[in-house]
Amino acid sequence: MDFLAKEHIMLQKMYREFTENEVKPLAHELDEQERFPVETVGKLAKYGFLGIPFPKEYGGQGGDSLGYTMAVEELSKACATTGVVLSAHVSLCAAPIYEYGTEEQKQKYLVPLAKGEKLGAFGLTEPNAGTDAAGQQTTAELDGDYYILNGSKIFITNAGYADIYIVMAITDKSKGTKGISAFIVEKYFPGFGIGKKEAKMGIRGSSTCELIFENCKVPKENLLGKEGKGFTVAMKTLDGGRIGIAAQALGIAQGAINETVTYVKERRQFGRPIAKFQNTQFQLADMQTKVDAARLLVYRAARLKDSKQPYTVAAAQAKLFAAEVAMEVTTKAVQLHGGYGYTREYPVERMMRDAKITEIYEGTSEVQKMVIAANILK
């Protein structure tokens, strides 16, 4: 994009080199074996990916949201699993501590997260509280110096591999969403456990598990934000997270186009490369135009966040559009690959499976539409 600053163009180059050499070669294997990319997380830490938008004094890279968003995009071009590992860590765990944490909490948790010494995750969804996030059942009761957490969370990205979890629990049942509070939970706190691992359609290398709290003792200084402000913390956090997921969708879509471009130039039918056929050309033109439009929306949302302007609606629009484009473009990419596209020898079938989740998690497309419509009709 022409409007990118030089540092963003250089970041893009760096992300691409890293992705090409460190991420792409693993993508197929991670998917086939449903294996979490432990080795990649170490490399992401080494080169600063895990702390891009945070100030240097908190162990970060002193960058911005756009630079971070582009990182998720570039990683996801080759491997959506790696993209979501980064997105969940930065957007859903480190970011709320940076936004709402006390100085002590930032020193204790944000610094190691931003440096990449620790990996982060976020727990909101419950078996009976998906889109209706207010229907939380996990409870937190203050008992002396500790909150005692009971209940469970499901579909938690990075679970089992993360060291630090942001967890929502009810501190006052009578107050509805205003009775929900946010906590910083370390993996070895007594009473905290990892439950069942989900078998998924896509992003199969990412870890998606249940979190179980059985009289889990959380020191009261690990309350994130004020008591009763947990729902706000969660919603604001998801606003940021949506930019990350939109970037993931964008990356998947662009990755599928790139694979398709290579393929249609090589694949010959009726005596010439299928790139010479008008159907191929028109399909690709549509695909790339939509992806570029998605990119503008995604970068706009990141830019608004960087300039401290409201970005909730922009993030919702970016995620809605980018996710739908990702699904459409990957489906077309498989079609352009024909029979080969349906086999696991080519990456587009994986991309198509990976794309689907972007329409679902961190707010389904329908939730995004609710957010957008509410803003139009306010």
């Binding site: 030089k6 540092e7 970041l11 760096m14 890293f18 080169y47 600063g48 002193g62 960058g63």
Partner: protein, 263 residues
């Protein structure tokens, strides 16, 4: 320890394609990169920075766009960057290029100068040794391994049929092979720093005029001239022969000889 690494921004020749119709080079949209041998040398210097706290300066001669190559070097961890850029330097052959770089090096503190063995666009391998000659420094080219021992370095110098382990006193110049090291990636924070906190110093002819003879720079100062250039022509599907095995073997051998694969 002060190390200066000379780098060149080059078109990624792996990405250079020939126009199938005209047989000319398509340069448009070809990304620019740090020459691979130079980047390997830069990595070797950065390793010495990690180990010994060496101060690493990157030096390049080129058009203003070469700024990006130097920023990339800063984002990998180099401490300082200098770009020699002046219309007067343009059109230089290896003699004029090495004269210009040597003039700049006379103004920079160094114990060790590292250049790449050769650039992928020119493939001459001449600038490094010529700089060493201008500065009167010992040189070792084709270096695959480097370590510091007191006031000397020990290098592995590669030949077609083996290698020498060589000890050279500092200051000296080495030319690095791509195989010497695998360059690190840039680090995110250093990319931001490279643009927001650091600078690429631009040196023009004026900055080096007291250390260079002006008759030795640029196109005018170049003893060699390009008289003509041409492409080898577009690649088309080759001939297919349906002959017996002996005849086929002869045809293959002919092709191998023509392509200098055997001799």
């Amino acid at each position: 320890m002060n190390i200066v690494v000379c780098i060149k921004q080059v078109p990624d020749t792996n990405e250079v394609k020939l126009d199938p119709k005209t047989g000319t080079l398509i340069r448009e949209g070809v990304p620019s990169i740090i020459n691979p041998d130079d980047k390997s040398g830069l990595e070797a210097a950065l390793k010495l920075k990690d180990q010994l706290g060496a101060h690493v300066t990157v030096l390049s001669m080129g058009p203003p766009q070469a700024d990006a190559a130097l920023r990339e070097a800063l984002a990998m961890g180099a401490d300082e960057a200098i770009l020699l850029s002046d219309r007067a330097f343009g059109g230089a052959d290896t003699w004029a290029t090495s004269s210009t770089l040597a003039a700049a090096l006379r103004k920079i503190k160094y114990d060790l100068i590292i250049t790449g063995r050769q650039a992928i666009d020119g493939d001459t391998a001449q600038v490094g040794p010529q700089i060493a000659e201008h500065l009167g420094l010992p040189q070792v080219s084709y270096v695959e391994d480097l370590s510091v021992e007191g006031a000397s370095i020990i290098v592995k110098r590669i030949f077609e049929d083996g290698y020498h382990k060589i000890k050279v006193k500092l200051p000296c110049l080495i030319t690095a092979l791509k195989e010497m090291s695998i360059p690190r990636y840039m680090t995110v924070g250093l990319v931001y720093d490279a643009y927001r906190e650091k600078e690429v110093k631009i040196w023009t002819l004026r900055d080096i005029e007291d250390t260079v003879d002006k008759s030795n720079i640029g196109l005018k100062g170049s003893p060699t001239k390009v008289k003509a250039s041409f492409t080898k022509g577009a690649k088309t599907a080759g001939k297919v022969h349906n002959v017996d095995a002996r005849e086929a073997a002869k045809i293959i051998v002919e092709k191998l000889l023509e392509k200098y694969i055997i001799s």
